[in-house]
Symmetry: C2
Subunit: 446 residues, 2 copies
């Protein structure tokens, strides 16, 4: 039997994580060096390497008997804990009634895009998750390319908004930012807010990496600066290394009531509620406690150490530029100065560059530019620095915190040798590319 | 700030469970007898009252450390367990590659409706969950009202299909059936299949109540009869009393490949995957074991006892007709013979009937006809017979199984007094309605 599929389903592309997984699987059987047992230097996966906090694990174990359906917006104890969490960490007063819990911020952002009328403004580079959602929902959208500093220019935002006919416009703000690791400061958020107020722009502020901000005092939520027009999303995935738990939340703008009813209807129509045991477990993750506070501090410090190392090591390679991350576990590496050499080697797209980097002997997995909503010919890539044993490194950090730059570099070498060696491999690749018209890559790309 | 909401969001109605919850909450503050401490005779909620099987709870507790994202279609061990489960219980050979796991069958059905082009055929009465999904997705649809036996007539299905222009048509089959509790036998499924083959109708067969079939040998999956054209959905919610866990699965038709890729893309775009600890826990629920087998047997026997009692007790009330359930924990009660009396009391819709039954002194919560996709003036209602302490009743059943009809009736009286008294209240309501022009209802409806 032949089945007909709706057109908008066929039109969207597979999100990056899926494409990459498939590619890595396929590559293994293709490798021209079958004796090669080495896997990958994993700079591609956007997943925190640490264990879920013990206090959250224990809470899930204690609540495994909770088999009943939960209320659509989330169980009251969880919404109350999230409210207190926002006050404590983000200095925001949020009535629990403004908080809706969902199975991950990905789905909550999808649900927001489902209900909100209007044209979407997507600054680039961007996490690839947004675009398939926008396309699948057949929403009007416009890219807003950033300039050299990789941040939204309020002026460019204003110019774009003036061109758009739609009464309602939706800006997707991602702060801290994936893939650049950059953070918007208060002044920058205020300037964006001025344009939004002026041009009637609604903001979805994806703040899933908020808790990873290295100097945490610097993080400011858009929900504080533009409370009447911002939907803030956050969750367990990155801060609590629990992407697999599938729990996120959205904070609705102030003084909105009918909209929450519409949203509730959509959640009830599509998925009822988040897994009840997971909701109970999440309470321990959002409640203020010494354990959780220490967990945030340790994990963000380790991300900081790895990020600084990666930034400096990549920047030390002649021709590579990189953003200097202030949060997350990513940075954006710019290989465009190699464009002439890449083109000579018949590497014309960032996808081809990713494929060339993955093969023997480089074995380096990165997320290429077209997966970051950049031009296909933009040789930029997201570099995630999480390829180490999180449980072990967490303990090593507790046992002996590095106290200087030298100790930090030593810490990386001892604890994350694959990051160190992987960056060398990227260096080798571009050196070969320039010097020897890259025999290995040609073997693959013939 | 004012937000604009897309039209199709405003157009859909709140699903029954939500509407009812809100209604019950509101009613409490409205009750003209504030000294009344009694809650409700709960015939409205579609939730199994039993605890989640211990073996599944333990498995969730053991797997609380699984914080990593799971593969989009589900973890391989779970898909393999579901495959074996289908062979053991439903005598179906299903390659694990045909199985996709999702956060509840509700969302999986929504996802199927998202990707499948075509007109939906919805037999009525129906579970209310389908209709908001169909409307929200702006799909063409046609009702297929059933006749006196409350089952799909193959002839009517054929006539409707011949009228539809769409190349692809999607029949939503719900077997065993919510709200009637009826079961389709093999012959009936074969007759429906003949029409489907002839008219190119794709079937989504929602078999979430399969495991509750009282005489389990009688259950036949549509996936066995029409394997090339049926998507079978099932999950943990009803069989394992774990609606709150949020885990379901869909079995794709035989010999379908591209479609699975399209489906995977949609899941990755919307929600990535089901909660990883929940997936690990579910393995124990689908693996063949003595514990699970006993759990299914005990729970379906208790549902059977409660169902028979409810059917006989309601049917004994003059003027009430009821379906005799062969599965699920529901039956459909037909109060239409009271229509003249109801109209005299200004009760013109099934919604109004539900409201009248809930007030003092009746306090009886039912799901009225318009929530079952029937005409608003159809005085039918779904009666769920689960208002008892599932853990206690499970143990009492093990301690002393009723061996005769008399013992079964005694078992219900001892273990589910609210069911017994609630049915009496329904009887009282209609008696008052006829005899005394129902003073209590008038007090409320003035």
């Amino acid at each position: 039997m032949k089945f007909l599929v709706d057109q908008q389903v066929q039109d969207i592309e597979m999100p990056e994580n899926l494409k990459l997984n498939t590619f890595l699987q396929e590559f293994h059987s293709d490798c021209p060096h079958p004796q090669c047992k080495f896997g990958f230097y994993g700079f591609a996966f956007g997943q925190s390497p640490f264990p879920v906090p013990k206090i959250v694990q224990d809470s899930l174990a204690r609540n495994s008997d909770k088999g009943a359906y939960a209320p659509v917006p989330g169980i009251p104890e969880l919404r109350s804990a999230i409210s207190k969490y926002n006050r404590h960490y983000f200095r925001m007063d949020v009535d629990p009634k403004r908080i809706y819990v969902g199975p991950g911020t990905k789905e909550l952002i999808f649900n927001l895009l489902e209900i909100l009328h209007g044209t979407v403004i997507l600054p680039t580079p961007a996490w690839l998750g947004y675009l398939p959602q926008i396309r699948f929902l057949k929403k009007n959208y416009h890219m807003l390319p950033t300039r050299a500093n990789k941040k939204i220019s309020p002026n460019d935002l204003k110019k774009l908004a003036l061109r758009l006919q739609d009464r309602q416009k939706i800006l997707i703000l991602n702060n801290p930012h994936n893939p650049t690791g950059l953070l918007y400061n208060r002044l920058e958020l205020e300037e964006i807010t001025d344009v939004c107020r002026d041009q009637d722009i609604t903001v979805i502020s994806d703040e899933i990496y908020a808790q990873t901000t290295y100097d945490f005092s610097k993080f400011v939520s858009m929900g504080k600066i533009y409370p009447e027009g911002t939907f803030v999303t956050n969750g367990l995935s990155k801060s609590h290394a629990a992407g697999g738990y599938r729990l996120g939340y959205v904070i609705f703008p102030q003084h909105v009531s009918d909209l929450k009813g519409q949203f509730k209807k959509i959640l009830a129509t599509e998925y009822t509620a988040v897994s009840t045991p997971i909701q109970h477990a999440a309470i321990s993750g959002f409640e203020i406690s010494k354990e959780i506070d220490q967990y945030f501090e340790v994990t963000r410090n380790i991300h900081h150490i790895m990020g600084e190392y990666t930034y400096h090591a990549l920047s030390a390679i002649d021709g590579i530029k990189a953003t200097r991350p202030e949060a997350t576990f990513y940075l954006l590496a710019d290989f465009n100065s190699f464009a002439p050499d890449l083109q000579k080697a018949d590497i014309l797209t960032s996808q081809k560059l990713s494929e060339s980097l993955i093969i023997h002997p480089y074995h380096t997995a990165i997320v290429g530019g077209d997966n970051l909503v950049l031009e296909r010919t933009d040789f930029s890539a997201r570099i995630a620095y999480v390829d180490y044993d999180g449980a072990k490194v967490y303990q090593n950090y507790l046992d002996c915190k590095p106290k200087s730059n030298g100790e930090s570099a030593e810490f990386v070498k001892n604890n994350a040798p694959k990051i160190v060696d992987g960056i060398k491999m990227i260096g080798n690749f571009f050196e070969h590319l320039r010097r020897e018209s890259i025999p290995y890559v040609q073997a693959k790309t013939e």
